[in-house]
């Protein structure tokens, strides 16, 4: 599938090279508004014209658009970002000359999402990435009432560069956000992850208090201690545990 998208990009580049260069510059964005598009063109692709903006706006690389802006297909975004990452100077110029100026006033959540993306493209081992993700986790735990941060985390994580997904803190964020939306299977993804490190002891800090609880049986047998279904275990004591999957 990625191959098809790569072909699409190659085809577009052959007819609209300037428009594709603009696309690379703005690929860090969650959504591309006219202000961002214009700034990117005038600042970093001066050889392009307003027609190139329109060509990109109505191009097959775009998944959805309205008068406020457009969004690329996720697969297209991935390829465009890879291309941008191969031009380090352009990548940094895009961040400092375009994004920090134009998107400095957007929602802090969206801005930090773009900052993490930029940092990951620049240097996937940048320690600031983990620092930002930890502080997001802290914000999620300390959020009162609405689950705005959790909702944003679940939406944002899949769109971040692949290197971010390898981090344990990312998995914890995903877990915490999923649990807040009642996804009891959230622990499965952590367990199935080959890169998963030992579960940190501070995991209890972000498990939501409204997580359900189930009763299981526990008994002392010859080979050790046995846990299982309370009703089918003779002589078992009752143990109440968080209703996660797996328990």
């Amino acid at each position: 599938m990625i191959r098809d998208y790569q072909l699409l990009i190659n085809k577009f580049e052959s007819t609209n090279p300037n428009a594709l260069r603009i696309a690379e510059v703005v690929s860090i964005a969650i959504r591309v508004e006219p202000e961002l598009l214009r700034m990117a063109r005038l600042t970093l692709v001066p050889e392009a014209n307003a027609g190139d903006e329109a060509d990109l706006w109505f191009s097959p690389l775009v998944q959805t658009r309205n008068m406020l802006g457009f969004v690329f297909y996720p697969e297209i975004t991935k390829i465009l970002r890879q291309r941008l990452a191969s031009h380090v100077e352009l990548l940094n110029d895009a961040w400092y000359e375009v994004f920090r100026k134009v998107h400095g006033s957007i929602s802090p959540a969206l801005f930090v999402e773009e900052e993490i993306t930029w940092r990951a493209l620049k240097d996937s081992n940048d320690p600031e990435i983990e620092n930002l993700l930890r502080r997001i986790l802290a914000a999620m735990v300390q959020e009162q009432g609405q689950n705005g941060v959790s909702h944003w985390v679940l939406r944002a994580l899949p769109n971040l560069p692949d290197s971010i997904h390898q981090l344990q803190i990312t998995q914890m964020l995903d877990l915490g956000a999923s649990l807040r939306f009642g996804d009891a299977d959230a622990f499965l993804s952590i367990q199935e992850s080959a890169t998963s490190a030992p579960t940190p002891d501070w995991i209890s800090l972000f498990v939501p208090s409204n997580l359900g609880r189930v009763k299981i049986g526990v008994r002392f047998i010859n080979a050790g201690i046995e846990f299982g279904d309370l009703d089918s275990m003779e002589g078992a004591e009752t143990l109440e545990v968080p209703a996660t999957n797996p328990l």
């Binding site: 202000e35 802090p108 914000a139 209890s204 080979a223 046995e226």
Partner: protein, 329 residues
């Protein structure tokens, strides 16, 4: 991440589950490897036939934290296979809830909520307009004015005529741009202009400032004005009628240049030529601001109207060309 005690009860459960120790000695070894200690009266239990005498529970003491925890050995699948497993009397002793000290970063949450002044999903950064801001006024005056000879007296021209003995029927004066006849602005609101909606709004405001609100009539259309116009979104579409003679008619459009099968209301060259003829017949001049470069303009339209590239490339020299063309006309 530094952790003084990396092994938790969950790790012990996993280890016991995966290694399935066959005897107590092996279980002790696993527990010790993980830095914990097993306090058990299992031996006593095994030696005694009177299980009911054993009332103490089994506890694990973590040597580093000295917190007691019950030993887990989670084998739910084995349970179902071995229903007849002998169970020993035991009692669960609830432990004090452990209090994990939050890491330092936990006290420094990222402020993620939009504050007053931050625009949520949309940026508050001003749009960089298509015409260079410093040039916009000059471009508009040049493009939208008609030229009348009421400037300063042309002394050279007077001397020339007298020298060839030609009578002076009227005093020659330099041409000056004027918008006294007003401007009719026709804004294309079709989907093809979607990326430039904000630019259209900026331009509309700039034109009003330059030409004056009382001399500026602004209307919208979709694709081609002859298909219908309206003064505002809430109005009904009506037939297009050209303004009074000498008024400048300004089209803000893409001239149907964008080729996209999913975009409706795309005007063809013939539609635009027909419209240009209506305007010309009414004695008005027709100017079009187009965001695409000249290489993409349809050739038949070049002669039907004055087309100006609506972009940063329009500069002093462009204005001079516009003025020259207007004076020649």
């Amino acid at each position: 991440m530094t952790d003084p005690h990396p092994n938790s009860l969950a790790d012990l459960i996993t280890a016991l589950d995966k290694l399935s120790p066959s005897d107590e000695e092996a279980m002790h070894a696993i527990v010790e490897i993980l830095g914990m200690r097993l306090e058990s009266k299992l031996a006593e239990v095994e030696q005694s036939e009177h299980y009911e005498e054993v009332s103490d529970s089994i506890t694990i003491k973590n040597e580093q934290t000295t917190k007691a925890e019950t030993i887990p050995h989670f084998t739910p699948y084995e349970t179902s296979k071995k229903p007849a497993e002998t169970s020993y009397p035991s009692a669960l002793i609830p432990l004090e809830k452990s209090h994990v000290a939050p890491p330092a970063w936990f006290h420094n949450p990222l402020p993620l909520k939009s504050t007053e002044g931050s625009g949520g999903c949309t940026t508050s950064y001003p749009l960089q307009t298509l015409f260079l801001p410093n040039w916009t006024r000059a471009i508009l005056i040049s493009a939208l004015s008609t030229y009348k000879n009421f400037g300063s007296i042309e002394i050279d021209e007077i001397i020339n005529r007298i020298s060839i003995n030609e009578p002076l029927k009227q005093i020659p004066r330099r041409p000056l741009p004027t918008m006294v006849h007003g401007v009719q602005v026709l804004i294309d609101r079709s989907e093809a202009l979607e990326p430039f909606y904000q630019d259209q709004t900026h331009l509309k405001s700039a034109i009003r400032k330059v030409a004056g609100s009382d001399r500026t009539k602004i209307m919208e259309f979709m694709g081609c004005p002859s298909w219908g116009v309206r003064a505002a979104k809430c109005d009904d579409w009506s037939d297009y009628h050209p303004p009074a003679s000498r008024t400048t008619v300004l089209l803000i459009t893409d001239l149907g240049i964008l080729h996209n099968p999913y975009i409706s209301n795309r005007a063809g060259v013939s539609d635009l030529l027909r419209f240009a003829a209506i305007v010309r017949k009414a004695g008005c001049s027709l100017v079009a601001f187009v965001p695409y470069p000249p290489a993409r303009w349809q050739k038949p339209l070049h002669d039907a109207m004055t087309i100006i590239q609506w972009d940063r490339t329009t500069s002093t020299s462009t204005i001079q060309q516009i003025v020259k063309k207007a004076l020649e006309a």
